[in-house]
């Protein structure tokens, strides 16, 4: 037995070294997911708060107009375009969809008639932006009420009180990041073997190995371990960047997360071993892996959260091999769950692991 494990450890050592000499392999395993992280992180990173892109045009010189302007500028709901100073420019940008609305303070705003200053703030929006325009109108109404209170005392019988709960909800990035790790695991676990194995078969390398007493389990085991080493490096890089650049907060226990990731990578790698081990050449490997991998990739929530799917699809995709991996990663990372609390996910991964490895051992071919 010790001799058999010596075979495994030697293969692991040399094949892992080999991986880090191979720039293409490094690119696809580590850099490629990292690029995706920056793209998706950039898109979903800071859209969690509502805001309006507006042009602010003040045509009045009065004290009250300046007050309103100061309030608008300090309100985070408004993103005021600094380049626009007249209506025509604002209209052009609104027509192109680059602005939600234009807020105009007319010339006569704030002029005193009788005893108090008065005026009307105008909100201009296009037909396609009715919702944003109306919402803006309501918000401005509220702003004006604050301004009015300085001049006229009013008592409102019914009011609304907004209270922030103490719970931190999931941001888009939290979903994106877990999905991205799923994507990276697919890259390592499935696209790796289905590219490498047919190549090794074409060159007769596996056939040659078959003339030695090496067993399939030794070969599989060495592949799994060296893939886990590579996976560890990839995950450390991705997590470091996500924490440093995108403010990801890992709430869960790192050790439990690592264990869970190892389980996930091993089970997904089983799919790669089955496909790559079965295929005699690239022509056999490519179509089958596309049929299996792409639907799984999209339905398991790699690129968009599964709660956006219709209900029946959510139920069906619950049982895909990658879904519990991605869900589990999110549950541990952002919700701080312990391994004991994600039993259903671990159980499902374990079940898939048994199934895919049973298939992989059965269909493996040395040439």
């Amino acid at each position: 037995m010790r001799k058999k494990l010596y075979t495994v450890t030697t293969f692991v050592k040399i094949n892992t070294k080999r991986f880090f000499r191979d720039k293409t392999a490094i690119f696809f395993s580590i850099l490629f997911p990292l690029i995706f992280l920056f793209i998706f992180g950039g898109i979903f990173g800071n859209t969690s708060n509502l805001s309006f892109r507006v042009a602010y045009i003040n045509q009045s010189q009065t004290e009250s107009a300046n007050q309103v302007g100061a309030i608008l500028k300090s309100n985070k709901l408004f993103k005021i375009d600094p380049d626009i100073s007249d209506i025509d420019a604002a209209n052009e940008k609104m027509n192109r969809g680059q602005l939600d609305a234009t807020i105009v303070i007319p010339r006569d705003f704030g002029e005193v008639n009788e005893t108090l200053p008065s005026g009307k703030v105008e909100v201009i929006y296009t037909q396609n932006n009715q919702q944003a325009g109306q919402a803006l109108g309501s918000i401005l109404q509220e702003v004006m009420r604050g301004v009015n209170a300085r001049y006229v005392e009013t008592e409102m019988p019914f009011t609304v009180v907004a209270t922030q709960s103490n719970n931190k909800s999931l941001s888009s990035f939290d979903y994106t990041f877990a999905g991205l790790l799923g994507f990276s695991i697919i890259g390592m676990g499935i696209f790796g073997p289905i590219n490498v194995f047919p190549e090794l078969k074409k060159m007769g390398i596996l056939r040659r190995l078959h003339t030695t007493p090496i067993r399939v389990w030794q070969y599989f085991m060495s592949t799994v371990i060296s893939q886990l080493v590579v996976g560890t490096v990839t995950m450390v890089v991705l997590f470091s960047v996500a924490i440093a650049v995108f403010n990801l907060k890992v709430v869960g226990n790192i050790f439990e997360l690592a264990l869970f990731l190892a389980l996930g990578i091993t089970s997904i790698l089983g799919i790669g071993l089955a496909l790559g081990g079965w295929a005699k050449n690239e022509r056999q490997a490519a179509p089958l892996s596309n049929i299996i991998v792409f639907p799984m990739m999209f339905l398991s929530g790699t690129f968009f959260p599964r709660f956006l799917m219709p209900e029946w699809l959510q139920t069906a995709s619950n049982y895909l091999p990658l879904t519990p991996v991605i869900d589990g990663i999110r549950l541990i990372t952002t919700e701080g769950k312990h391994l004991t609390e994600i039993g259903p996910q671990i159980g499902l991964i374990g079940l898939w692991l048994l199934i895919v490895y049973a298939i992989a051992f059965r269909v493996f071919r040395w040439e």
Binding site: R18, M203, R208, H210, T211, P213, I214
Partner: protein, 254 residues
């Protein structure tokens, strides 16, 4: 006389095609045994059944008294196999190739020693993709011998090599035989068989049609009244090539 390999009435069919139709022979300890024949004669299939790479339909092969179909893993542990075109995974150093092969047999070896055996010591830390065809063949041979096998199989080892590299390889194969390892080799080249092999089996249509030493086979042919139609030259073009480029055997490293 001990027979290290015993092949009895070996048969193999692919669908309706009978690739090997009842082949029997034995290989003596420490001899170079050649299997000759045209393409499709069943040489490779015979070899693959002996190497436990293909299932045997009927008949039997024993190597060192171990039955191949009953104990394929035990047999693999005592044979070395050189495939037709040796491929190695890239980005791997020569020393690592040797280590991996040894590890596949569960052994730990000093890779330098095996590389020195085939004059590749100075390439120890190069990657395999930097080797020439002949160098790869030599690496492949030494890699097949890391576990000190009792029988060494070579499938058309010199196909695609230049004449100098071929002669180098012959010398290497003879050295392997001199270490007491029995060698079984298939080839298309008659000159190779004549120089190298102690005994030859000629296969055609999945059967052995002649089996003897090269000398005896030639004698038998002459006894049948055969005469060569052309006068034999004292030297041929290959001799010229070797004379101009080879600088003697063994020194050329291509």
């Amino acid at each position: 006389m001990t027979h290290i390999v015993e092949v009895k009435d070996l048969k193999k069919s692919y669908g309706d095609v009978e690739a090997v139709r009842g082949v029997s022979f034995h290989v003596k300890k420490g001899e170079i045994f050649g299997i000759l024949g045209p393409n499709g004669a069943g040489k490779t299939t015979t070899l693959e059944m002996m190497e436990a790479l293909r299932d045997i339909d009927s008949g039997s092969v024993t190597i060192d008294n171990i039955d191949v179909s009953e104990h394929p893993y035990k047999v693999r542990a005592i044979i070395g196999v050189q495939p037709q075109s040796p491929g190695f995974q890239d980005k791997t150093k020569l020393t690592e190739i040797i280590q991996m092969f040894a590890a596949a047999y569960g052994e730990k070896v000093n890779p330098r020693r095996f590389l020195d055996d085939v004059q590749l010591g100075d390439k120890a830390n190069s990657y395999v993709e930097q080797l020439s065809g002949g160098q790869k063949q030599r690496l492949s041979i030494t890699a097949a011998l890391v576990h000190n096998p009792k029988v060494f199989f070579l499938d058309e080892p010199t196909t695609g090599l230049d004449p100098t590299a071929r002669r180098n390889l012959w010398k290497l194969i003879e050295q392997v035989r001199d270490r007491g390892i029995s060698v079984i080799i298939t080839t298309h080249y008659m000159d190779e068989a004549e120089v190298l092999c102690d005994r030859i089996a000629i296969m055609d249509n999945g059967m052995i049609i002649a089996l003897d030493t090269p000398k005896n086979l030639i004698k038998q042919l002459l006894a049948r009244g055969f005469k060569k139609s052309q006068k034999v030259e004292q030297a041929n073009l290959e001799d010229v090539f070797i004379d101009l480029t080879g600088k003697g055997l063994g020194e050329h490293t291509s």
